[in-house]
Symmetry: C5
Subunit: 360 residues, 5 copies
Amino acid sequence: MKNPLYQKQLNVVSKKTGLPPGSLVYVGDTTTSPTTISEIHYNSHQYNENIVPNLSESLLFSTKLDGVTWVRVCGLSDIKTIQEIGEQLHIHPLTLEDILNTNQRPKVEVFDQYIYIVLKKISNISDSLHVEYDQLSIILGNHYVITYEETADNHFDKVKSRVQKGTGLIRKLNADYLAYALIDSIVDQYFHLQESIDDYIETLEDELLFAPSHETLNSIHHLKREMIFLRKAISSNSELMTILLREDSSLITPDVKVYYRDVLDHAIRLHDSIDTYRELISGMLNIYLSVLSNKTNEVMRILTVFASIFIPLTFIAGIYGMNFDYMPELRWKWSYPLLWLFFIVIIIILLLFFRKKKWI
Amino acid sequence: MKNPLYQKQLNVVSKKTGLPPGSLVYVGDTTTSPTTISEIHYNSHQYNENIVPNLSESLLFSTKLDGVTWVRVCGLSDIKTIQEIGEQLHIHPLTLEDILNTNQRPKVEVFDQYIYIVLKKISNISDSLHVEYDQLSIILGNHYVITYEETADNHFDKVKSRVQKGTGLIRKLNADYLAYALIDSIVDQYFHLQESIDDYIETLEDELLFAPSHETLNSIHHLKREMIFLRKAISSNSELMTILLREDSSLITPDVKVYYRDVLDHAIRLHDSIDTYRELISGMLNIYLSVLSNKTNEVMRILTVFASIFIPLTFIAGIYGMNFDYMPELRWKWSYPLLWLFFIVIIIILLLFFRKKKWI
Amino acid sequence: MKNPLYQKQLNVVSKKTGLPPGSLVYVGDTTTSPTTISEIHYNSHQYNENIVPNLSESLLFSTKLDGVTWVRVCGLSDIKTIQEIGEQLHIHPLTLEDILNTNQRPKVEVFDQYIYIVLKKISNISDSLHVEYDQLSIILGNHYVITYEETADNHFDKVKSRVQKGTGLIRKLNADYLAYALIDSIVDQYFHLQESIDDYIETLEDELLFAPSHETLNSIHHLKREMIFLRKAISSNSELMTILLREDSSLITPDVKVYYRDVLDHAIRLHDSIDTYRELISGMLNIYLSVLSNKTNEVMRILTVFASIFIPLTFIAGIYGMNFDYMPELRWKWSYPLLWLFFIVIIIILLLFFRKKKWI
Amino acid sequence: MKNPLYQKQLNVVSKKTGLPPGSLVYVGDTTTSPTTISEIHYNSHQYNENIVPNLSESLLFSTKLDGVTWVRVCGLSDIKTIQEIGEQLHIHPLTLEDILNTNQRPKVEVFDQYIYIVLKKISNISDSLHVEYDQLSIILGNHYVITYEETADNHFDKVKSRVQKGTGLIRKLNADYLAYALIDSIVDQYFHLQESIDDYIETLEDELLFAPSHETLNSIHHLKREMIFLRKAISSNSELMTILLREDSSLITPDVKVYYRDVLDHAIRLHDSIDTYRELISGMLNIYLSVLSNKTNEVMRILTVFASIFIPLTFIAGIYGMNFDYMPELRWKWSYPLLWLFFIVIIIILLLFFRKKKWI
Amino acid sequence: MKNPLYQKQLNVVSKKTGLPPGSLVYVGDTTTSPTTISEIHYNSHQYNENIVPNLSESLLFSTKLDGVTWVRVCGLSDIKTIQEIGEQLHIHPLTLEDILNTNQRPKVEVFDQYIYIVLKKISNISDSLHVEYDQLSIILGNHYVITYEETADNHFDKVKSRVQKGTGLIRKLNADYLAYALIDSIVDQYFHLQESIDDYIETLEDELLFAPSHETLNSIHHLKREMIFLRKAISSNSELMTILLREDSSLITPDVKVYYRDVLDHAIRLHDSIDTYRELISGMLNIYLSVLSNKTNEVMRILTVFASIFIPLTFIAGIYGMNFDYMPELRWKWSYPLLWLFFIVIIIILLLFFRKKKWI
């Protein structure tokens, strides 16, 4: 059982052994995700997007431009480049370390020059609801946002297209609104997950009440485990939003704070849902035990009815199968039919008895 | 299993995909509830009620009148009209979005010009205590209250008739008192529900202790689930009242605050009751398991008594059914009656043994 | 299952339907408790007690007298009188409503002119520890205390006799001390209840460990339920005292506050006890299940011992009861005694086996 | 079941019925503990100890002496003397009442002239870990400490001998250090108890996993109950120390506060331990149930193996014991040995089947 | 069962009996760990390490040098030396006592001259995940750090080598950074432990779901117990870091505080993990019970199928084994084959019945 939130644990420890704090080591898979840096610059009347091979050419350092610059760093294997960006923007070494060590808890750290936000985004959901998480780091500066993603996926495409088309307020407001839009799209992802869970639990409950099996128990157990991790991820997210709202940084303007409050609201609603799931799942385990007890009870009742009826009768039959010389009943003509009558009466009495006990 | 509080989840996500925040989309059923707007204007000496086809004719914008204007918007499918009202009254886009997205958690948001309140009202209770919820949005301004209801039902008829007849204080006080009266009528609804639950639990407890069945387990499970959702709804309500009382908005006067405190009191009492139900229900599951164990125990006792008495006797009978040539007992005249005596003694001894163990 | 704290729920809702808040409706049984008003006036050197037919003659409005006036209103069916008192003393309409609606949670409300205190007093304890509660409302003013009791019982006789005889400080201090004495006598009642519970649990534990039955389970379940309600009542009481101590009302002097702190102490001790009971009771349910499992295990062992010994033997006997023509053993002279020997050896071996397993 | 912390409950209620608050009644056993008062006076260079027959001769009232006076009151039956001390030192009547009512919760009350501390000390531990508690009241004044003990035992001998010999700081510091030393010795007592519990639980766990019996269940239940009471006692103690440290009384100097903090540390550690015990014990009940289930499962397996093998065989044997005239098999010469072969094959197949299921 | 965090409990009590607080007694094993003192002095351009036979020669008291001095005390049996160091550095007697009493809870105490930190470090992990803990005391002064270790192990080798080689910031910053580096290395240790637990739980879960045995139960129980202790250790650690960050001591500079915050983050993540483990383990016990119930159910089904089929048939066979003179069926030629047909039909019907019930 690996905690999917901190699944690269092992790598960290072994890779970082003996290094001073602040040493930059990427703990993920270095082969699969080459580092690419792209840059989007926009203001209310223009929009530019380009791949940045060399950071010194970045618009980030161009003082002539106004507007917002969004630097997307996808893939974290190229430590050198990441370190360069960090140095040029005066990012604290510990922040850089946290960006690369993708086992962070979601958190917010407010520095003088920037706000550092770590989030867990959902990278994959399997059929059996096994969820995989990626780390997303956001650095929100005065007129820029830098995002560090573990792999290049299409997750921010909708936000990007909104920027490109200028729908809504996004091009009218500053970098804090862009950061909000990004975080909001992450939280929305969890709502999709929630729908999958809803369906899964519905199926499981039906199975549980009408045809429980050992498989059902496994499913409940696995679901329970996923909920434990999911809850950690979500509760960290809402905690993070709370801190962000409480902080008095000039980087987030009051006008935009109301949007952050909206995200917090969503995160709390998600948290509520997960709590509900946990209660439902813990109830399901009890139901499973009850249903099982019920079934054992039923099995026992069947056995008892059969055994209690036929064991005494067999005894009677056994008696008249004995070979004693002097057994006068054996000679009487009506013994056999009378015995049958006796058998039938016994059976009826016992059946009535069990019927009264509601066993049959 | 769908969470009845947020049952339109799926719609939101699919309908809102790719839209910027603040985009207005109604997530409910658009066909069933056409939007109708009615307006009630009153002060201590007069009362007017009329359907408003065009909002620009609303009394809301008439500066000549004093008194309170209550605008009722029933049905949320006509987004355009709702947006117009919003713009004319300077309502924040996020508030409008929340009004239409009927999956909100009950909450209070205090803006400069108005207070925005979201509540869950009970729209339907089925026989098996399945509760359905509707969202009610209240905007409390300086001299007006706007309510947004998902469907037009007769829920506010009593409040309306009080305004119309001028009973109590309602026409003497301002819009904050009207908002209180509306919220109070929502909370009262929950008390009705509570009575139904009281009766249902009483029935269930009797069933549980005297004739538990698989059906009982299902009922407990369903009740438990309803309680989880109900508790969320109620605890959000009382949380909301607490926030409303704490807020220092000039829109609620100290004289009226004492009434809000009264509603808070009711909400807390409801919350207490739900907690009590939860404890009772969780106790019931344990009782169910115990009763079931008890029944299995009883079944086993019956089986054991029958089997333990007759299996040994059958063995004895079997012995004298053997066909060995040299079995001297078979020839003795008193063997058979003596064996019967032996059987009876054995039976009596075992019956006494089981009686001593209190199994029969 | 009715919550005994709020047992008149149904009445409230049906009686109050459609009335504005502040409407006075008594929700209890109107026939059984006629309203009687008596008045006790005392100061350090004199004591008067009289029935007040007409409140305008009350000493409460006599400005010439110094000392404390205690007005006892027993029975709440005469709404008109209660409303008159309220108006004459400028009591808030919501307070009057709460006095009559006897389903309040215990609470404290501090107004400028008076402090309003609602308590639950124990009106009856049945043999099976079913507790019934009455509501007691106390209004503590500058030189007066008004108590509203649902029925006229002898509960305050001791306090009254203390006032009459002038024992202790009661006649030397102001109305706040009288209110304290009344609350203290209510809390003392709960200690009496606690003793009954102590005894009941002791009996139940013995029964549980030595002779558990279905009846025991019922008792545990009922006790558990009573504890849930009792705990609510007591925790509300101690919460109430905390609020009373925190409030900075001039109506309670610092000298008397130390007495209120003493009552708080008692309430906390009671709360501790109830928590202890709850833990004990929840443990008892587990014990019950364990004891039951133990008993089932024992039943099974007996069955297994009997069946495992005699079923194989019966099979052997069955073999030699077969009627094959060629069964040489049947002809040997020592077959029968040797078989008996075999039987006995088998029985001994199995008995030793079961003894080793500690089943017999 | 009596709560050993408040075991004299019954006495209080019956003895105090009808008395005003502040009435002094000793609720314990009046016959066994006569009141003796001894007095120890010391400063850095001298030490006096004497029995005080008459309090007016006490050094407490001698203004000429500097140093600390420790008055030990052992046995609380002599109410009159205790009242005299109280009056002479201006002790609040409620404090005196609490000293005599030995059912107090551990608590701290800070008055202007003194600090009143109530503690539970362990008076006896039985073999089965049944713990009895006594109440210890400490009054810490400016230059004196008064201790009220229920019985005269040797519990404070070590502290006394330290004072006498002048080891450590005790004679160099003021009364607050003496009070600390006394409280510390009480807390140390609990550590001794903790060791006994450690050993007891270790024994119980071994018994549980290797030879559980009904006795084990009883022991777990009793231990659990003791833990409930012990936890209350200890958590009250640590709560008390927290309050003492928070209070800004001039009676405890900052230099000595660091020692009180040390005691708090010990109390928290004890509290941690008890929590650990509770978790262990609650786990043990689950283990017990599992072990029991395991045993029942084993019993059932044995029964099933025996019955499933021999019942079908007996049926076969029964067939050939039938007396039909036309049963050709009966006549064949090899029928009997072939049938034995068949029996053996069946037995082997079933044994392999059960072996595969790991039942044997 | 000994709590491994406070395993030397017994020693303390017996060794300290009768001593005044502040008496220095080492409660651990005095024979195994002789006290050795080594000293490392460094600043940004130099590094010295030497064994200190006599503390008065220590660089700690040399006022001429700037830089940081790290004094390592390994083995706590030489009380005299430890007392000397304490006196020379004005360490409070209670701190010295706590250093020697290795049963402390992890804690922070801030004094004017130094900060005293107690941590639990992992000294050994057995194969069955039994963890042993050692106490580490750190005294952080203005330009020095003193560490007290119970035994001399290689735990700080990495930190030492970093100091020696001057990697990272360690030689550029003050003593507070050194203390951070030491604490960080302790916390890292717990991550290693966490990986072992991950693997262990994974194995256990597989065993549980596919081949549960009594051994599995034992393992779960032991794991649960270890988690209880581990959680205490870790939660104390994170609590400690919180206090350290909150404290406003000039000994920790703001620049270094960010590193302490990083350690806090790690500690919280560890705490999260342990909580997750606890939930998983508590779920595992339930699964175990369910799996067991399932198995018992299966055993019962097999028994019931065998018994319900063959007991009635045996009865039929028994009938025709009776020796009545007048049993006409016995004479009919087709009786026997017809009876076989009857047997087979019965068997098929019952098999279909059980198949329908999904028992076979």
